[in-house]
């Protein structure tokens, strides 16, 4: 899997596959090129658009969760448990918008009351001017849909403002790396989703095997969510090539579509219509005490089992059945 830029990505024909973890916009741009060139692209960043008929191609696969699945799982857990009055703090780009859309959709089942959605620009380093307003709304739940450093800073500052005293903070995705970078204080008690946490190794033999191999290779360190996704994204394509006995693109695509796999997190498969990996979603909570090792950062609260009913329907995505 070579790294090349832009239009140089992949020749017509066979033998080249791409797997990238990038921001949604970059992912969609790469998809445009690979689609045109007939190159298989298995993407591992979160996007709803990549599943839609307009963007999807025969060559596009999506190993990652998408915002609809993530927010759905977290929403179903949180709205049942913490309350119905919800305020949103959202990064003003596709990822944030898609997450909020997902939360509002699942929120309908719970009759949640949307108190307001404050949008912030990407790369915001200070949320102090947004938090008093959110606090004044007096929600049961504050749903913070942003990622990376935005999320780290938002959670840290929400903690400083004492928001956690009366309000449950939820986030669609809690990334392992962000939690480590921001520290236990900032993430303490925050509930969110993820596609993988090493701690499920008690439950799945595949996870145990993956963790052990990873530990061996990296001085006893444990894989993170995105580490696992990267592995999964490559492994599925590799297995499909083996299964097809060929690197010819069309054969590999057929093999991927037929794949029922469990390589690191329990059973998964790619749905036919949109090539979305149907998989479990973990609902997790950040720990601040009793941590056994530096990777022991989350507690798994519940697992939403793989089920197509948690995905947007093929019709809604614009695919003809």
């Amino acid at each position: 899997m070579k790294r090349r830029r832009g239009r140089g990505a992949g020749r017509e024909g066979e033998g080249e596959f791409r797997r990238r973890s990038l921001s949604a916009a970059v992912q969609l741009a790469i998809n445009n090129v690979t689609k045109e060139r007939g190159v298989i692209f298995n993407s591992i960043s979160q996007s709803d658009a990549i599943n839609e008929a307009a963007d999807l191609s025969k060559y596009t696969f999506h190993e990652a969760l998408n915002p609809h699945m993530t927010s759905g799982a977290v929403g179903r857990y949180a709205f049942a448990k913490f309350g119905k009055k919800v305020a949103f703090l959202t990064a003003d780009y596709a990822y944030g918008h898609e997450m909020v859309r997902g939360f509002l959709e699942v929120g309908k089942e719970f009759n949640i009351e949307n108190l307001g959605d404050i949008r912030h620009p990407l790369g915001t380093t200070d949320f102090s001017t947004l938090l008093p307003r959110l606090q004044a709304l007096k929600p049961d739940i504050l749903c913070i849909s942003n990622f990376g450093r935005d999320q780290q800073i938002a959670l840290k500052q929400a903690t400083d403002f004492g928001i956690k005293k009366s309000i449950q903070i939820i986030a669609p995705l809690l990334s392992h790396a962000s939690r480590v970078a921001a520290g236990p204080q900032a993430f303490e008690g925050v509930v969110g989703g993820c596609s993988f946490y090493w701690g499920i190794e008690d439950k799945f033999a595949s996870t145990k095997a993956f963790n052990d191999a990873f530990r061996k290779m990296y001085d006893g360190k444990l894989p993170t969510d995105y580490g696992a996704l990267g592995y999964g994204g490559v492994r599925t394509v590799l297995e499909a090539v083996k299964g097809a006995g060929s690197v010819e693109t069309n054969k590999v695509v057929a093999a991927l579509e037929a794949l029922k796999y469990d390589y690191y997190k329990g059973p998964q498969y790619y749905r036919k219509c949109d090539h979305q990996s149907v998989q479990s979603v973990l609902v997790i909570k950040s720990k601040s005490k009793d941590m056994k090792n530096e990777s022991d950062v989350f507690e798994v609260l519940s697992t939403e089992e793989p089920n197509e009913k948690y995905l947007r329907t093929c019709e809604a995505l614009g695919h003809k059945s």
Binding site: L115, H120, P121, P132, R133, A136, A181
Partner: protein, 291 residues
């Protein structure tokens, strides 16, 4: 969304002032250096970032936040002295673009060195225990640490004011910023003054970085955003004007805060809109004389 109460607006105003405090600290160093040396210090953000990392390091080897408040500005100030002496001094008299490009490049080198030493991902920086939590300020709860930041900024400003107004060295700086030649003729070794001013400016930048660390954690790129915003502050306040930087820093904080209340998506843009308005209405603002 719920209506705007008086309390909320007052709290918002307060949040703006607290935000402005960091801008002020960052911008006065920038302004001091520009006013005296006519060096546009593009590495100011990197000094700010290194200040946060030095604090992180000191705490990791057993220091505490209070020691850092003293040690970080000293360490960054000394570093600033070395940078001026070795890198910037040879460029005096060669035009404003030479030191500008040098400091621009230096900032990249500093960020890269920190990435190599500490890694690319950020680190958490815990708020010192006694300053954790929020307190009731009458109109609502406000983080205690942010109140501390306002107080610390006020102390630095007071100290700087006393230094500039009440000491001979301060007199030299005030005069030298207006007319370096006359202070040379009156026997002052201006290169020494420039050295010290650069050291003071960078020391304050390091101090600001340390204060910012518990607000947002530390990351090698943390100096970039604030540098862009602080340039707006110095343009609005007048390049080289310390008093202007103080007022403009607070103004920018309040503008961001009030925009956040009514149109949060516009908060970031509002800073630059303010600069554009100031430049159009008051074109001489960018070159106002220092005071």
């Amino acid at each position: 969304m719920a209506g705007l109460s008086f309390d909320l607006i007052a709290l918002q105003l307060f949040a703006g002032l607290a935000l402005g405090a960091i801008y002020v600290l960052f911008a006065i160093g920038l302004s001091l250096i520009f006013g005296m040396l006519t060096v546009v210090n593009f590495a100011h953000g990197a000094f700010y970032m290194v200040g946060a990392y030095v604090g992180l390091y000191l705490i990791s080897i057993g220091g505490n936040f209070w020691i850092c408040l003293v040690a970080v500005p000293i360490a960054i100030g000394l570093f600033g002295l070395a940078v001026e002496r070795v890198l910037i001094r040879p460029l005096y008299g060669r035009g404003i673009d030479y030191p500008l490009l040098l400091t621009f490049g230096l900032s990249y080198v500093m960020v890269e060195c920190v990435r190599i030493a500490f890694g690319k991902t950020g680190y958490p920086f815990d708020t010192p225990e006694v300053l954790q939590g929020a307190v009731d300020i009458g109109v609502g709860y406000f983080p205690l640490y942010r109140l501390f930041v306002i107080g610390a900024t006020a102390v630095v400003l007071l100290a700087l004011w006393l230094f500039l107004e009440k000491t001979s060295f301060g007199l030299i700086i005030r005069a030298g910023a207006r007319d370096p030649q006359i202070v040379r003729v009156l026997g002052v070794d201006v290169s020494r003054v420039w050295l010290i001013v650069f050291g003071i400016g960078t020391a304050i930048a390091g101090f600001a970085g340390l204060l910012a660390a518990p607000l947002q954690g530390v990351i090698p790129e943390m100096g970039g955003t604030i540098l862009a915003e602080a340039f707006v502050v110095t343009v609005v306040g007048g390049m080289g004007s310390i008093g202007g930087a103080v007022l403009a820093g607070l103004l920018v904080g309040v503008v961001v805060s009030m925009t956040s209340l009514f149109a949060p998506e516009m908060a970031k843009v509002s800073i630059f809109a303010l600069m554009a308005i100031v430049l159009i209405v008051r074109p001489q603002a960018s070159s106002a004389a220092p005071d």
